[in-house]
Amino acid sequence: MALRLTALVLFAALALPAAAQESIVVYWTKGFYPQEDKALDEMVAKYEKKTGVKVELSRYSPQESVPKAVAALDAGTPPDVAYGDVFDFQVAGKWAAEGRLEDLSDILTPMKASFLPVTLETAYLLNEKTGKRGYYAFPMKRQTMHIQYWKDMLSEAGFKDGDIPKAWNAYWDFWCSKAQAGYRKKTSKRIYSVGAPMGVDSSDAFYSILTFMDAYNVKVVDDNGKLLVDRPEVKKGLVATVKDYAHTVDAGCTPPSAVNWKDPDNNVAFHNKQIMMTHNATISIASKWLDDSNNDKLTPEQRAEAKKNYSELIATSAFPLKPDGKPMQYRSAVKVGVVFANAKNKKRAKEFVQFAMQDENLIPYVEGALGRWYPVTKAGASRPFWTEDPHRKIVHEQFSAGTVPFEFTKNYKFTILNNENVWAKAVNRVVVDKWTPEKAVDEMIARIKQVAG
């Protein structure tokens, strides 16, 4: 009897507080650097302390974040809050259209003044079930395209930074014909100059190709989401884009395997000095070395080498002037999270999002990425963090010049086209199947009309 009584008391003591504690389930993309994860952990701990709500945090890789959320949604047990680095590219617009997301206008509208332009607007999505737009996602951070190159490889090729032309065609010709040839001649190494991602299974590829499209002033959709691909000038621009982007493979300046590259592959090729330069949708390539330079697990020599790579040997730069001679206006991707409409604890989920969006919580999280992500808020972007470092200064200047949003913010079906990567497919048609750019663009336009028309 005494034993039973003791067991009952123990059970009550252990089970009741657990049953009483409120909790929310949060899915979040795993950080690229430990500082990012640490900042998130601290944010979660602060929230738990402030509210007494337990946060059940699960971290997934960027590639896993969509399948995990889809599986949870499908099983009828979605997380209360989900953030994924590729949600904006792949699913947010679609989920909003399908009525699967909770409208966050009540928490985001009061904060509107604190956001930079072309940030919160991209989360103003259409719910096709209600026919109304609302803030169905919360913006956390941004990314855009940069160029990174090895200064020492350029130097070995017999050139210096100032020799790099500013005009579009001269710029690519320089890397292709002069820098690569000079480096190969000097070292006899079979390296390539331009790391142009072309893999269909790569968001870097479509981001890069769409940036080339911006350079040719091509707009495939208007502000109301209507397709413009039937316009002759749009087709002409698309043909020029595909032709230009594919050219570096034909010219022998981009590795043929670039058609199979996934997102990390241009980073890997760059770190191994198999390519002299690459365009990348964040400065993660340089930041990797900054992270290594502070990594206790590495030897002092490795840390010193990493520091040298970051501060002396790798350069971050903007794109050259557009073919029409005007400066580039970069497209920025606003990384968003969501609260699902059928989440169990929406009240607390919104409270968590609101808490996460406060400057004191958001800024350490964004800066934990070492410049890989750029802030969405004015307070975040105005910090010296963005001007004191040579790599981040370039990022800051690119964003400060003003950005444009992706097509999927106007017509969510472009997320499907990005997922399928019709852009890289057209480039692959030219590179792999030896189609003419005109024929490849015709196929691309037909698919765009079929999916998003």
Partner: protein, 287 residues
């Protein structure tokens, strides 16, 4: 007795215990077979999924790839297995040692080995092309960026990985043939080809065909050889049905993924039906 009577007054004790003992199997079958299959079919119920699936420019080339993969890889694999099984039945010490080495590709885990092959075949800095360049001063082929070549390499990887297993099966089949048959054939002056034609093949034909059918079913679901080597690239041109489903799941198109599996059923079900008929026929013969 009272227990069985409590369950059903008409059931004997034998029947009751039979039901109790079979219950876990039925439960496992319901949970892990019936439920997932039914759920998959339910997810694939929307006719629009099939319309958009057939409209997807990736789908039909994938079906063609799957057919080519099945016909070429399985038949080449079995032709080689049949040939090699004739070699490995020889009772020599060095052949036994060689057979141990031969079995390694089947025994080692798929992910690291296929990734290693992928790195070796990288057109720029892979081992194979670096060697070609060093020896002949020319660039080697674009093994994984040329779609037909990439598909061929996926088939070679599949054959390399599965060949030891099927060779072992056929070796076992050959070893079951009574030695007297060969001795009698030798006495009659039969050549090696005649011994194969009139003794070996009739004895292992059933095993060969059954194994081929089983391999067809397994190969249809072979995800690793293609996905780990090519990832369906370049330009989604080396997908097979097994990898296409994963592509759709990654793209948040679960209904398409399930529709892909349903579309594969006309391939799978006749094979399963035909194989089960063969097996049950064999069982009747042996009983």
């Amino acid at each position: 007795m009272a227990f069985s009577a409590a369950i059903s007054p008409r059931w004997s004790s034998f029947q009751t215990w039979g039901a109790i003992l079979i219950a876990p199997y039925v439960l496992v079958f319901l949970v892990f077979v019936i439920y997932p299959v039914s759920y998959g079919l339910w997810l694939a119920r929307n006719p629009d999924s099939y319309r958009t699936l057939f409209e997807d420019p990736v789908f039909l080339p994938t079906v063609m790839n799957t057919l080519v993969f099945l016909l070429v890889a399985v038949n080449v694999k079995f032709a080689l297995a049949l040939f090699l099984s004739g070699f490995f039945v020889h009772e020599r010490r060095w052949i036994r040692w060689l057979s141990v080495i031969f079995i390694i590709p089947w025994a080692v885990p798929a992910i690291p080995t296929i990734f290693s092959i992928r790195f070796m075949l990288n057109p720029e800095w892979g081992l194979v092309n670096s060697l070609i360049f060093r020896l002949f001063q020319v660039d080697g082929p674009n093994w994984l960026t040329n779609p037909p070549l990439a598909m061929m390499m996926a088939m070679i990887v599949h054959i390399w990985k599965a060949l030891p297993f099927w060779t072992l099966i056929l070796v076992a089949g050959r070893l079951a043939i009574p030695r007297e048959h060969y001795e009698a054939a030798s006495v009659d002056g039969a050549t090696s080809w005649q011994k194969f034609k009139f003794v070996t093949w009739p004895s292992i034909r059933t095993l060969y065909l059954t194994s081929t059918l089983l391999s067809l079913i397994w190969t249809l679901g072979d995800f690793n050889s293609v996905y780990l080597l090519t990832g369906g690239q370049p330009a989604d041109k080396t997908h097979v049905l097994a990898t296409l489903g994963i592509r759709y799941i990654r793209l948040d198109q679960l209904d398409h993924a399930m529709a892909t599996i349903v579309v594969a059923l006309p391939f799978v079900l006749p094979l399963v039906w035909f194989m089960m008929r063969r097996l049950s026929g064999d069982e009747q013969k042996t009983s």
